[in-house]
């Protein structure tokens, strides 16, 4: 079985074909940026993109993403190391506290700004309320999304 993650094709060993996408990413492919937190799609820590759509990777079997294009937090920055506008805004606003949820937050925000290039507060409430942050960094996440969206609009 093969999966394409961050534009690199990976072979999934036979022993790992009963696993979730999340477990394969973390434990088999060594891409540990995507996090396990609730395991039931309630918190968004494990959000990745599959063929351009944000999904909870804890809920989907690896078998269901065979030959699909997966994007994880590790694939968001450019090859030259320059950060995506969302990542840069996250740093500029000093969003992370413990940081554990932030990969999922950024990947969910990527879906939001892809869909709504100029997101309103209501858009942010609606799309980001599936991503929990126990440290309570929501105010900064909101600011960062708006900031990054502005950068992305002005450069596109």
């Amino acid at each position: 079985m093969k999966v394409r993650v961050n534009e690199v094709e990976h072979h999934v060993a036979a022993d790992w074909r009963d696993e979730t996408l999340l477990t394969v990413l973390r434990e088999h492919l060594g891409l540990a940026g995507t996090k396990f937190s609730c395991g039931i799609g309630q918190c968004g820590a494990c959000v990745v993109h599959v063929d351009g759509s944000a999904i909870n990777s804890c809920l989907i079997s690896i078998a269901d993403v065979e030959n699909k294009n997966i994007l994880t937090i590790e694939g968001l920055a450019s090859g030259d190391g320059s950060l995506h506008p969302l990542q840069q805004a996250w740093i500029d606003e000093n969003v992370p506290q413990c940081g554990f949820c932030q990969s999922g937050q950024i990947m969910q925000a990527l879906a939001l700004v892809g869909d709504k290039p100029d997101p309103t507060d209501a858009d942010i409430d609606s799309v980001m309320s599936g991503n929990l942050c126990r440290c309570g960094t929501y105010d900064r996440i909101r600011k960062s999304i708006k900031k990054a969206a502005l950068v992305m609009r002005s450069t596109s």
């Binding site: 696993e19 940081g99 929990l132 929501y138």
Partner: protein, 725 residues
Amino acid sequence: MVSISRRNFLIATGWVAAGVTGVYALSKHAVAVAPTIIFPDETSGAAWVQIRPGGVCHMFFPRVDMGQNANTGLAQIVAEELNIDVEDIQGVQPSTSDVPPLAVTAGSMSMTAFSRPLAIAAATLREGLRDRAAVKLGEPVAAVLDDVGGFQTSDRRKVSYADLVDDTVLVIERESDQAVPALYAFDSGRQKTQVGHPKSPLGIRDLVTGGRVYTADVPMTGVLYGRAVQPPVRSAQIASLDTSGVAEVRGVVTLVEEGDFVGVVCTTPSAVDKAIAQIQVTWDLQQPITEEEISRLIDVDGKMAAGDLEHILQDKAHRRNADWSVDLRFDVQVQTHAAQEPRAAIARFNDAGADHRLEIWTGTQDPFGMQRFASMDTGLSESDVVIYPQRLGGGFGGREHYEVERDAVRLARAVGRPVKVQWTRADEFMASRSRPASAHRIRIASDDQGNLTDWWYGYVTGHVVFARERLPGWLLPVARLSDDSGVVKGAIAPYQAPHQRVECEDVDLPIDLGVWRSLNGASAIFAIESAMDELAVLQGKEPVAFKIAQMQGEQPRLAHCLATVRKLSAKRRLPEAAGYGRGFACGIYDGRCFVAVSADVFVDEVNQQINVLHLCCAQDVGMAVNPDQLRAQIESNLVWSIGMALLERFEVADNTIQSSNFDNYTIPRMRNMPTLDIDIIDQPNLPPTGAGEVALVAGPPAIANAIRDASGFRALSLPIRFADI
């Protein structure tokens, strides 16, 4: 005093293999059983700052990072002393073999306890290097002036730290009887480049690019996956056990049964899930785990009617029978940490002859506690056990115990290979040591002018620091003779009255209890601030002016916070329409941290919900080392306040824990967010006070008082649900 043996210790660890190290009086106190409570002070402590060949500054981070980013603030202090930029400091999270025991990271103590010792260490290093520079420049020491990353003379001859440090080992020590060098970080008249500036947390790039910084991210060759069954309470014993289905699961390596411990080791994570699902276990309990049992145990009115409570915290001309203006009982629910990272640990046993027989990777608030407990658990000597502390995906007081580490150690020992244990979210709830439920009776009497005459506050809660299974069983009865420092947090009100009594009692509840953000502070201050607000309402007085008056000038820093937050709140107009309300509350955390919060709420009759619209906070932080990170901690506390006031309730029933995930334990989400307005009151002449769990004491009562203002409903129990109104 720094003894030669301490210096040898440092050299033996390799920490001072080359370069110059500034050392500030290392301590070697007797180590407490749990948690580790060694803090540095003026004459003892531990702080390491080193200039390495090439001039790079290394420092061992004395705290574990769990989101408070205290190490960044401490690095700013070091950078200030050394005239470098905080970004140029290379921080190292030390293992337990790198440094002597350091205190558990808890209690909002990091800045208060560590800032000055670290400043002294760095300044001692700077002055030692200045002596070297004087020799190199052929000038008297007084003519060697500071420069960025080194020194210079008045005629601009420069020497950098790199020029002064070579491969020889030199430890610069300050004896305790020597004068403290000039501390730039604490010099309020000085123009600073690091302290007081909003620096980004060190290592932030890793957190937004998917870097490996948490325990479960650590790569490990040949690792297996394991997990143990968590009992509903640690005192539970296995009544019946059926593991017959485990052998059928593909990928199971072994089943481990040791007394009340039962766990599995497998080749993949999903095999662990399947194998654990095949284990059927029932438990014998010492107490029924039900809401009714908890309510019965904390019945404050029954206990106060029967006589004095166990601990008298304040007693001044107490009168049992006054003409009470306010006589209210407040109940606070059980709450839990629900950190975003479910706990994980990796354990690896090595053959004799290795540096360490047992290595443990874990995100813990108390690495040295883990080392001691792993030593006791395995029979290995402490020096045979090493803990590699990882970043915590949230701590909040919940990660001080040898638990997930124990699971990993026992399973790794059974299979002779490294084992990673990743708790599920359900495990995390089942094994949580929650903030106890508590019941509070507050009686206040006042004179004709409305001034307080009598204050009688009694409360009953579960144990906190001295909770069962936090200390060894033999130690508990002894420890409990004294006040539990967690239970008494927040109990003494800032208000003055000629007759005052505060008393409390702490009891065993049927669930595991422990340290939660602010300990008892948020519970007690919810009760105190609600009662005082009610008295102001009954007297028709403006609550802020009333509270400040009742402090009688005894709490100027708190009064200033309260006056400041009233001004902040006034920047935003509260709608005149029905259902809108504004409330205020203030509090002192741990006798040293001062905060006031205002809340604007809308009690929405149409949608049957309570919305927090706007929160303001004024917090006196002492010296603001990193204003932006202080603000971040305040934001975090305000969000937690919404959870505590309106959302979170740890459910128990039918002799087990019912809360198992975020679908049945509700924490704040983006849609719950109000707007925030925060004013940090910087006191450059006063030591930093800490911020990790401060504003949470004032947030919930501010919300409750706003609901009173909006609807006339006085919340007597938390969380407040719309249906209560």
